[in-house]
Structure formats: C-alpha cells, structure tokens
C-alpha cells in the first residue's frame, strides 16, 4: 500500500462547507467579459486617437455592445441587434405568478422568442425600487427591452411548452395576422381562459402559425358589464400548465438547462427601426395630426410608411356603470433609428409627458378635450418580426 490512501487524505483535508454554484461561475465570467470588452473598447479608442490624432474623429466610428437597458433611443454607436429581421416563434405577456407578488399585483413580464434564438424581454416591477432584481435594467420602473440568445434546443423547449398548453385549449384559440400590434395587457375576450382569483389578473400568449398568430388570453373573473368580459373557466390542468409556462418564459435562467443557452449574458435590445407613434382623441386623419406637430418633425414623418391603429376605448365609471367616453386613433410611422433621433430633436421644444417618464420617450402634443386623453407622441422600438408594441405606462 502507498503511504497515502484516499481515506486518510480525506480525513486530513478540511470538510467542504459550500455547495456547487454554477450560476456564480457564469456570473463571474460575465463580469470579466464585460471588463474585457470595456478594455478593448478603451484600447481601440486609444489606438484611434493615436492614429487619427484627434478625439473628435472617434464620434463617427465608435460602436459598442450596450450591456444595460435604456428607455427611448439608444446611445449613439450602440450596435443594433442582428440580424435585422427574424421569425417570431412565441410572444408572451402578463402579470407573472412566478415572481413573488409584492402587495396586490405582480410584475409584468413580456417575452418575444425568435427562431434565430433571440429572446427579447422586458419587466415592470409592480413596486418600483432599486432592488428590482434586474442589474441590467434601465431604471426602477422598467427593465427596458433586453436580449439574450437561446440555442435551437432552447427555442424548441419554449415553443413546445406553449404548444402543449395550446393543444389543451384548442377551442379558445383566436388567430390574428402576424402583423397585429399587441397592446400591453389590454386583452380580454369571450374566448379567453378565466383563471382563479389567486392567479395574476391578465395575460396572453401567441404562437406563430405560418403568417398567422395563434393567441390564447386569460384573465380573472370579471364583472359581466365590463367591456370584453367573457371566457371559459380554466381547468386545474390548464392553470397548472399556465404556471409552468410562465415560469419558463419569466425565469428561463433558472428553468432552462445550460445547453439551451447560446448567450446567457443580458444586453440591451437595440433596434434598427423605430415606430414614432401619435395617439389622439377624438380621431383625426393623419394629415391633420401631422399639422399639430412642430414643422420639422412633420416634415421628417410625412411620406414614411405608417400603420393606423384603432387606439384605445376610453371609458369611465358613472353611477356604477361603465360608459364609453370615446375612442382614440393611433398612427405609427416607421423610421430608422438615426431618423428617429432627428424627430426627437425636432420635438425637444414640447413638454415631456410626465406620466411616461421611466417607460418611454414621450411628449405631449395637445391638451385633453372633453375628458379624453391628451395627444401624445412617443417612440416604440421595432422588433425583429417587424412589429412593435406599447411601452407606455399601464392603467
């Protein structure tokens, strides 16, 4: 026998007091990569100064990966997400039952998953504060749109989980054109799943089906007089499946295996295009609306590809009944990011919309008429599938 054996060496070594923590390893690695990148950027910048001899030359060429969410337009030089376009596989949005509820309501989570592996998401804490748990987030109200990347296996894991739930809810599925613009949480409907009161109040998910989207919505029981109230009571199995899928899309890092991740590091989603949206009540036509803007902004938007949306129904409770006050119309103009910057500059004389601070870059164009909403203009990032969403405040 040797002078040493495993058992005796085992006794002389200190006992182990810690458990494996692979997430900590990855986190340390990410921090280093971030530092390494910053060093590279600094080194590249220094090299440019040395070669060109003037710091002013850097402004036009410097590009970088943005590792923190932002609101509004990205900093100049932030590298756009690539490729510019991608096929949407899954979209999910809702008050999440996965993250711990603080008080009455839960955080709002939205997730878009693409065939090329991109997973783009944002989160709005119900109780904004510095401890929102998203170090890469833009601010205490909103993470901004963030991006990670899944492997093909990871995409399939997410897709199949949602497809399974859809399979069990076939009678409730609605189909929409893939270009439909989902409004933040404004979905109820007679074909929705009605979930128990202890489930967060409302949400919807969409699964790509060719050039159509299959959509399944859910909400807690509502008052029959509420607009859009209706639906079918969810079975216990459907609720359990909903919880499982929510956990998968809301906290994928804790559910998906390492092999599902191509890039687990979180970075900002930087779009190549923006929708400049104007919402006004009562409805007006586009030329009338443009005439309400500063001349330079109107000039930049005129002739651009635009989408007309129904806007939102504005309601109020009067004598215990919900009455419709009116409807808005929304026009969204598609511009490249640099053009969006020019539009923002042209709007800088307007008052920023105070209620939107922390959510979106927004300005007030005109004051409200007859208890209706004011006229707003704001900037929405285009997603790889060619759609955009609503980034403003909820409620």
């Amino acid at each position: 026998m040797s002078d040493f054996d495993h058992a005796s060496l085992d006794r002389v070594l200190p006992p182990i007091e810690s458990a494996p923590d692979w997430e900590d390893v990855l986190s340390r690695s990410r921090v280093r990569q971030g530092r390494h990148r910053r060093h590279l950027v600094l080194a590249a910048a220094a090299a440019l100064v040395a070669v060109i001899g003037t710091a002013s030359a850097i402004g036009g060429v410097r590009t970088f990966v943005l590792d923190k969410g932002f609101i509004g337009l990205p900093p100049r030089g932030a590298t756009p997400s690539a490729p510019e376009s991608g096929d949407l596989v899954v979209h999910w949005e809702g008050f999440t039952p996965t993250l711990p509820a603080q008080g009455r309501a839960n955080d709002i989570v939205r997730v878009w998953v693409y065939a090329d592996g991109r997973i783009i998401w944002d989160r709005r804490p119900h109780h904004p504060g510095p401890e929102t748990g998203i170090p890469e987030g833009a601010n205490e109200f909103n993470s901004g749109y963030l991006e990670q990347r899944l492997t093909p296996k990871g995409v399939e894991l997410v897709r199949s989980a949602i497809a399974g739930l859809f399979e069990r809810s076939r009678a409730l599925l609605e189909t929409f054109p893939a270009s439909d613009v989902p409004l933040l949480l404004a979905r109820k409907g007679r074909s929705a799943l009605i979930v128990p009161e202890d489930f967060p109040s409302v949400g919807s998910m969409e699964l790509s089906d060719g050039d159509r989207l299959l959509r399944l919505g859910w909400h807690t029981p509502c008052h029959p007089t509420d607009l859009g109230c209706g639906g079918t009571t969810a079975t216990a199995e459907q609720v359990a499946a909903l919880r499982r899928v929510d956990m998968l899309v809301t906290a994928p890092a804790s559910v998906l295996p390492s092999s599902a991740w191509a890039v687990r590091e979180v970075r900002a989603y930087v779009p190549s295009h923006y929708a400049v949206c104007i919402d006004t009540s009562p409805p007006k036509d586009a030329s009338h609306l443009l005439s309400m803007l500063p001349a330079r902004a109107a000039e930049l938007l005129r002739g651009k590809s635009r989408t007309r949306l129904g806007g939102e129904v504005q309601e109020a409770r009067e004598g215990g009944r919900v009455v419709v006050l009116g409807r808005s119309v929304r026009y969204c103009f598609k511009v490249e990011t640099e053009q969006a910057r020019e539009v923002a500059e042209a709007l800088s004389g307007l008052d920023p919309e105070p209620g939107w601070k922390g959510y979106a870059l927004a300005y007030r164009v005109a004051e409200p008429v007859n208890k209706l909403n004011p006229t707003w203009i704001w900037f929405e990032p285009y997603f790889p599938h060619g759609g955009f969403t609503f980034s403003g405040p909820v409620g």
């Binding site: 002389v12 200190p14 182990i16 007091e17 692979w22 390893v25 390494h36 092999s259």
Partner: protein
Amino acid sequence: MIRRRGASLDELEALYRGRFAIFVRVAASVTGDSERAHDAVQEAFATAVQKRSSFRGDGPLEAWVWRIVLNAARADVRRITPVAGYAETGAVNGDPGPDATLRAALVLLPERQRTAVFLRYFADLDYAAIGEALGISTGSVSATLSAAHATLRNRLEEVRT
C-alpha cells in the same frame, strides 16, 4: 492524431458539478482554508469558461482545469497569508493520532510534492494529467511523488522513534 480545439460550456459544467468537492478540497491543500479554496475554484471555472476556446485538447479537459484551479489557489496564497494546516482533529490523551501525524507531515512537504500527492491519491489523476496540471513532464511527476513518499516516510519514522 486530430486534436480538438475548445471545450464546451456543457463539458465544463458537467466537470464542475461532478468534481466540485474534489476541486475545492485539493485547492484547500494549497490555500489552507476551504472558504478561500471555494472562491479559488469559482474564479478558476470562470476563467475556464472565458478561455474555453483556447483549450487545445493536448490532454484531458480535467487536467487543463486543474492547472487553472491550482494557479487560482496559488494566486490566493500570494495575496493573503495562508492559514496553516488542514482539518483540525483533536489529539486523544496527548497522542496526536495517525491523522494528525500525517497532516503535520503533509504540511511540511514542498507545495509541488503535496499537491502531486493530493492529485494522485485523492483526485485519482494519472501521471500525465498531473503533469499537465502542474506544468511538468510525466517523468517529473514520478520523481516528485517518489520524493514525497521518501520525505513522508522519514517524517513518520522520526515521529515513531
């Protein structure tokens, strides 16, 4: 022979999860403290993740990672004065007992000999992998372990007489 280039994240994670306790405990033989050993192992695997594309496949992945772990542990020792000794087991009736004697003898071994002993007889690495981990030839591993055996035998003889 076709050499592979790079290690996958899955391979590193599997190695980490499968051999975590061994890595930490052998690292503790360098740092003298299990908490600092744990930190060194975490740092080492973070380095391995970051540099995984540079793994050339000349030897086993585990040997490559051992080298990084040992370097991290040594860097920790250079930064902070090491805590002497390993597990403290009490003497019985004034007799230090065989474990305490072995521990004292191991502490007095040169660091390379001590680490070679733990890699061979605790982590069960073969000579080639130990050589890769310590950055020495396989022949030197054999010589290092022989020297460790000789030193230990002398020390244990001294204790008995």
